[in-house]
Amino acid sequence: MVGSNTTEQHPIIGIEMKKALRAGAALIVADPRRTELAGLAQFHLALRPGTDIALLNGMAHVILAEGLWDREFVAARTEGLEELKATVEAYPPALAAEIAGVPVESLVGAARAYAAAKPAAIFYTMGLTQHVTGHLNVLCLANLALLTGNLGKPGAGVNPLRGQNNVQGASDMGALPNVLPGYQQVHDPETRKKFEAAWGVPLPVASGITVMEMVDAIASGRLRGLYVIGENPMLTDPDLCHTREALGRAEFLVVQDLFMTETAALAQVVLPAVSFAEKDGTFTNTERRIQRIRRAIPRKGAARPDGEIICDLSARLGHPMVYRSQAEVMDEIARLTPSYRGVSYARLEGEGLQWPCPTPDHPGTPILHVTGFPRGRARLHGVNYIPPDERPDAEFPMVLTTGRVLHQYHSRTMTGRSPGLDALRPEPEVEINPQDAERLGIRSGDRVRLVSRRGMVEVNASVTERVAPGLVFLPFHYAQGAANLLTNPALDPVARIPELKVCAVRLEVPARSGRSGQACRDGGL
């Protein structure tokens, strides 16, 4: 498990992991925090945030040096072994362990345990990817799985756990700037031709920009109109001061949501949408399983489903999109998307279907890459360690990492309105190691101030061994005590993911303050 607090963030998968542990499975957790599963693991590698590459290269080094790799699988199904060998040569366990800040015995032990377990599965979430090296971190994990032959079989694999109910589906459907539905590239002329024929209009050629770039493009005046549907970047984006300034500058901002969110407050027009209980459709979960949701109650007031609003607006812009039902939309998706081609509402009753499902009689695909990889042989990559964008220094000597807690969710527009969940964690708390707390004279429940190069928040302290000395953890759900006032917007150059998991901060005891102290570096907010 790398950078995944599974029992809090994917509780039902967490249950299965605990079951596997009770049945004798070995568990390695690489996470800077001592999460519940880390406490139950044979090896908890409490790495310094952002040192994943060094740690994983060190493990690959051990697996290669001790001959623990699967020669047959590597020969038959991969390429690039020499490149990988040459790179990880430079990461002997002692050095790798020193960079990552973990005991060398744990690193070596974990490498041996992973290689010995057959099969072994890797799970990761945003603790691995929200770094300037996010996509490289994933390649390093893939190296380990390929070296040990742990792909394409039950109980193995490199498994990202998706954080939102339909983040998989939104990606599958092409809500991404470079791909059409089914990850078909916008720059591929054949693909465009197919969609142009289906939709009856010429399509743009150049890739679009990602969510983080949108904020910058508004700030620079390149982007003028933004239509935000069911998202709240004013709490979930890094460096909120910048986000607020940029969104405030948009010539036209329209927000479609269930609630008047922090982002909606900045809009010119707000359109009321409906919840999952008021509409029909499908969600695709983290195991690529497409499942039905069904309308259970009437819509609230004049609120309408997102799809209906979009179709109405299209008609007003001279391009009517007319569907009699969501099933009909799915039929169009299936026609244009190879991995969804066999999907229809009739087939989704009951357990749903796992894509790829290429034909109407295909049973779906629970395990990928069983007989081959899309590109033929899988590539092993030599990846060198790059430190986080922002490192502690004299002015900001500590590291802040952010995440979620079990009983809250994203910007709390949903959990904050359920009395039981709200009561479970109504306010943010920053986790501080007892050593740091003692040095600063802080006790649990005290008001403390966190300052980064971008902003400042005041929140209550929770003194705990869950974090190592020098590290603090703050959940990002809260409008008051908003962790993302502090976070660093530096991006992974390929995946365009911001480094939400590492930034440099200073911890102070505020002289005396109101309950909700928070500010931007230039005093705004």
Binding site: P11, L176, G225, T282, T415
Partner: protein, 353 residues
Amino acid sequence: MAECSVFIDGKAALVPTGTTILQAAGAVGISIPTLCHHPNLPPIGVCRLCIVDVEVGDFHKQVAACHAEVQDGMTVRTATPELERARRFALELQVADHPSECLDGETGEPCELRDLARRYGVTKRRFMEDEARYPLDESSPVVTIDLNRCILCRRCTRACSLVQGQDILWIMGRGDESRVSPALSLPLRDTACVSCGQCLAHCPTGAIRDKHPLRPPVRPEAVVTSVCPYCGCGCQLDLNVSGEQILRVTSNFDGPANRGSLCAKGRFGYHFVESPDRLTRPRIRRDGRWEEASWDEALDLVATRLREIRDRHGPDALAVLSSAKATNEENYLIQKFARAVLGTNNVDHCARL
């Protein structure tokens, strides 16, 4: 796999070795009353409601159907007058110290004990003083534990330890003093309880119940299967609906990803749907003030402004942020709208955040 041939109330069944009598009966459409048993949990055989007569060769006795496995050549009788009398007696004992408001159905909570008591014509004998023996444990933010309604079926303790793996609830004390409780009789809030509500989902009587139901509990008019709107596990759940409102969320034990399990968010996080803060009409900001508008007015304004910007600055001066909360169909339409209607590939969602 070896198979056993059995006769249940005269019907022949061929089932794999290791099948319980209860499962075998279910396979041929015969239902046997149960109370402590739950198909999601290993059998424990404490309520004796499911007793049946079995005969194998010369051997003849009564066994608990939830617990006992079939044997080849076994003959089973599930509803002789003698068995029905024994069941009635077991229910009378259960009901004797059960709160009467509960049996009268005044609570509105679904209750398996009440349903069985009615079926067997068991009413509460009023000679026993109806006193609440136990104070409620309302320390948890999500569940209330009311031991007065507890029938000691141990479904909650098994759910907590075997399904959730949390081991919070135990049977404490002996005999008459037996009760369900966290270790050391701590209030639930002071334990490592994760508020998952698996105990509640398996409780047959409402002894463990939702602390903040949206409305006073009534029988749902409809139960609609859907998928949890929170994380990517994709847990199926049942929306219980009455009138035009969600009453509560209950477990759907057929969901392939979760088989009935839900976390605190999926089980208790649905109030937002019925929140009074829901936006119910479009709004337009004019001179810094929000005004409600009709759909025509709002969408005409959006269309005009988007068209103006596109005409003046080109389609790439526009962008759409789609949603990981929206359905596949909606995401498909949203990206189609960006590309085919606005003419830009500037469409993304929060997969990166």
